[in-house]
């Protein structure tokens, strides 16, 4: 655990050593603001809730989280520092979790910077605090799942662009599998109901939705945690197979 923290701290320091982190934070805040107020009609809804804020997160993260995750391992592979890291007395698990945690903390920080949105809602009316809290939890978990997936794709290549595109595509599939317009088309095409439901059950949207409504279901938590664990585990396998 101590080693994972040391690695996480180094990684996080690396984010802020370059302007990339600040550019990311600014773009993230601008886009959330734009989608919430312009596309989501925050004011016209005439209700004090953050529905129009959270509903965009699966889409926003799809582009922004891979931008954080793509360098996770691709950069180590490119610079050759992987050789340094894996000859230190740390286990691969500590290294992988450490680097993942750094990215997740960073995304959490970005999410924290959207808190003024909450204040706005409270200023405008009396929103229900429950959905806001579970919405944030769900959003954070979803960011973690996306991050673990882009970390996984970044372990396959030293090329960050390839890593980025691959993880965007995987995240897109995860979103679309449960996106009503897509599931409706599938049903219209005559796909069996059970299969569509199963696919939708794999989708982040499906699990994030109930959280936006204020429901903290254990199954949703288990879903996100297993997605993260699976991607982290695969990262370990991929990194090992690269060296075999």
């Amino acid at each position: 655990m101590k080693n994972a923290m040391t690695i996480a701290r180094r990684e996080l320091g690396g984010y802020f050593a370059s302007p990339v982190a600040y550019v990311f934070l600014v773009i993230f805040l601008l886009l959330t603001g734009f989608f919430t107020f312009m596309m989501g009609n925050f004011f016209l809804r005439n209700e004090a809730s953050l529905m129009s804020f959270f509903v965009w997160h699966p889409w926003l993260y799809m582009l922004l989280v891979p931008a954080v995750g793509m360098r996770l391992w691709a950069e180590e592979l490119r610079m050759g520092t992987l050789e340094l890291l894996f000859t230190m007395p740390v286990t691969p698990g500590q290294a992988i979790w450490g680097k993942f945690l750094a990215g997740w903390v960073f995304l959490g920080l970005a999410l924290l910077l959207t808190l003024p949105m909450v204040f706005t809602a409270y200023y405008l009316g009396q929103p229900d605090g429950g959905p806001i809290l579970t919405g944030y939890i769900g959003s954070f978990l979803m960011a973690g799942a996306y991050l673990a997936i882009s970390g996984m794709t970044s372990a396959c290549t030293r090329n960050q662009v390839i890593s980025f595109i691959t993880s965007v595509v995987i995240c897109l599939l995860l979103v679309l599998a449960g996106y009503p317009p897509v599931t409706n088309i599938l049903l219209k095409w005559g796909a069996p109901n059970a299969m569509v439901e199963f696919a939708a059950g794999l989708s982040v949207v499906f699990h994030f939705e109930s959280m936006q409504r204020g429901v903290l279901d254990l199954r949703d938590l288990v879903y996100f945690c297993s997605l993260i664990s699976f991607a982290i585990f695969s990262t370990g396998v991929l990194l090992k197979s690269r060296r075999a």
């Binding site: 690396g14 050759g80 050789e83 340094l84 075999a244």
Partner: protein, 319 residues
Amino acid sequence: MIKTIEVQKSFGSSLAVDRVSFEVKKGEVLGFLGPNGAGKSTTMRMITGFLPLSGGKILIGGHDIEEQPLQAKRLMGYLPENAPAYADMSVLGFLRFIAKIRGLKAVEAEAAVEKAIATCHLEKVRFQIIDTLSKGYLHRVCFAQAILHDPPILILDEPTDGLDPNQKHEMRQLIKEMGKHKAIIVSTHILEEVEAICTRVIIIDQGKLVFNGSPDELLAQSPQSGQISLRVLGRKPEELREKLKDLPGLGTVSIKEEKDGALAATLSAKAEKSLPAARVARLMQEANWEFDQLYTSKGRLDDVFRRITSLDSAEEVAK
């Protein structure tokens, strides 16, 4: 301290390291030679636990690198090829990170970092971002990283690569000094380095071990080893040949006339015979001939190296 037993590594269908066994003890500096692509880096990556083995076994201070990787890794410092380091960190930040990940406590860590900075002469760049360092400094930063926790074992992959002659000399002195109480493996393709710092040499070619012995034993395999060079002034070639004829143990003589009229002769001994230079000197003095050069050649490493490695490659092609 280091023991490799029949170590093998294959990448896909090609065998990069083929049943290599050797041992390094405390107080030894092992020179690891071989042409490019011979498998030196691959072997070192297996020793340091970066690459999994395809076969065989490696013991580091008694710990199997694959079964007790953490214990084994604690005993080693490693300078990888091309000296990788986190480009976005400062030299000081990087070394502190390494100290921490090596498990040094705060006070210890600070002392270790300062000592490594002093040893590698990094005072001037301690706050500089690694990305902006010259190649020589980058190499020293990575070397500092390797010696930070004062490990009993050092694995150095081309440690003098990219250094200027002064830095090279200094690095060699440092390795030699540390070799007295550590077990060190140094890979290189610079042959003088072997004579300068190594107590033992192994050569691999196409993944196979082709030599394991002392630098002197390696030199002895040179055709030039034991040859005597003599430069005589103011004589004719026939005269010299006549003079040398009765020298005991003499095999072949080749004589060349140089621009200034002097004669450069190369004398080699008959097989299994020795040809002392002192005997030649006495001959010259008794005859009262003038000569300005007389020495016994120790043999040339590059010749031996070329012979050992290309011989083996030729066999490989023939198969």
